[in-house]
């Protein structure tokens, strides 16, 4: 077993190929991504049923592969499966919102406070998200503001340096967007936080982690209150 000097190269090449293969998209993954996108963008509204045959037909995949995709999204809490009744787009209630915010209140300020050194790439991502939000707000494109907000909070969690934590955060954020779509008019839920995002990014750029963290925590608590209040008003008022 004489090890030649190019063994490391071979190993790294093999690894790269394996990585690419791991990341390549299988048919079920593509279907899942497509559906997820439709749900997050609001095209597929909360509560709509997803019949397997019709949907598989529409997506151009077989029912079996579609079921793989659906299972994936059920695990992400974007869809809900009711046995023998099928899957439907989840409709988060205030319990879900409180739960998500409890998680966010743990994760986000802590990421700001205790993440590794603030490196330029992370700060740039934050600034980019802030700019994305303000320009979208200037042209009144509130769905785009919602996306920008999502990007901002993803960037915040990225400060933790943990890819896994970011992935988990994205699940929470996707669920939040589902909730927003239920609430209708997105402006009052996103507009107030554009300024706030800028302030927090500014604090971080200046290295003031404490201020950023406390401001972020207050921000999250306020957003939770606002959402829960709006939801309860809505369900008290409306009938369907």
């Amino acid at each position: 077993m004489a090890a030649s000097e190019l063994d490391p190269l071979l190993a790294s090449l093999g690894e790269a190929r394996r990585a690419r293969r791991t990341v390549m998209s299988t048919s079920a993954d593509r279907a899942a991504r497509l559906l997820r996108e439709q749900v997050v963008e609001g095209t597929l509204r909360s509560g709509t049923r997803l019949p397997e045959v019709r949907l598989a037909d529409a997506l151009g995949v077989s029912r079996n592969t579609l079921r793989e995709a659906l299972s994936q999204l059920v695990a992400e809490r974007i869809l809900v499966r009711e046995e023998h009744r099928g899957v439907l787009v989840a409709t988060p209630d205030t319990t879900a919102v409180r739960d998500v915010y409890a998680a966010r209140l743990v994760i986000e300020p802590a990421a700001v406070l205790h993440g590794p050194a603030l490196d330029p790439a992370h700060l740039a991502a934050l600034d980019a998200a802030v700019r994305e939000g303000t320009t979208a707000g200037d042209r009144g494109d509130w769905p785009a503001v919602a996306s920008a907000n999502q990007h901002f909070h993803r960037a915040v969690v990225a400060l933790s340096g943990s890819e896994r934590l970011v992935a988990q955060m994205e699940l929470l954020l996707a669920e939040m967007r589902l909730f927003f779509h239920q609430m209708g008019d997105p402006e009052p839920f996103h507009a107030p936080y554009l300024e706030e995002n800028a302030v927090i990014a500014g604090h971080l750029r200046a290295g003031r982690r404490d201020e950023a963290a406390t401001r972020l925590a207050a921000y999250l608590r306020a957003a939770e209150r606002q959402l829960v209040a709006a939801y309860e008003q809505r369900t008290v008022g409306g009938d369907g």
Copy 2:
């Protein structure tokens, strides 16, 4: 639409039924749970391939349903899928360990510090996990100590009050156990922390959140260092 007085009862019943149906186990879920258990318990070692036909046969399900289960576990990072090569048990490396600990360092101390009021149920869960660990340690059952440790940290995150955060933590902990199995002898990785768990639980019982959090953070940093060091020593020494 005259509402009778038993409407609320009907509504609650319907909700309960839906909840049960949502939680009830489909065949794929059962297969996934079984496989997960085998992996976490160490029966299925890192790197072992899981051929679909043989495995489906062994589990008594069809290949299609098995694939649903496998997809689920791939999403949980317990298994890895390499396209056209199949699924195999993940082998976390030090990168994964660093990533997981970065996430845990954000989540766990923050859950201790900023979770809602420490209620008796949570404190009882912590104590139970501590006792479970010490008795297992007394009889030298180190795999059981590993389980107890997992329960302790789950209880810590439960302080956050977020069911979702607990679920996400469980993914991280499962991945850690995969790593432990790779390292062989579990005693040196779990024994030192039994005492530490007891101290932290004591702090929390007395309401000293700050001490508990800082102690927990130090604990996590130490564990990460120990694990990474052991791993690198192991891979420098061995050849396969």
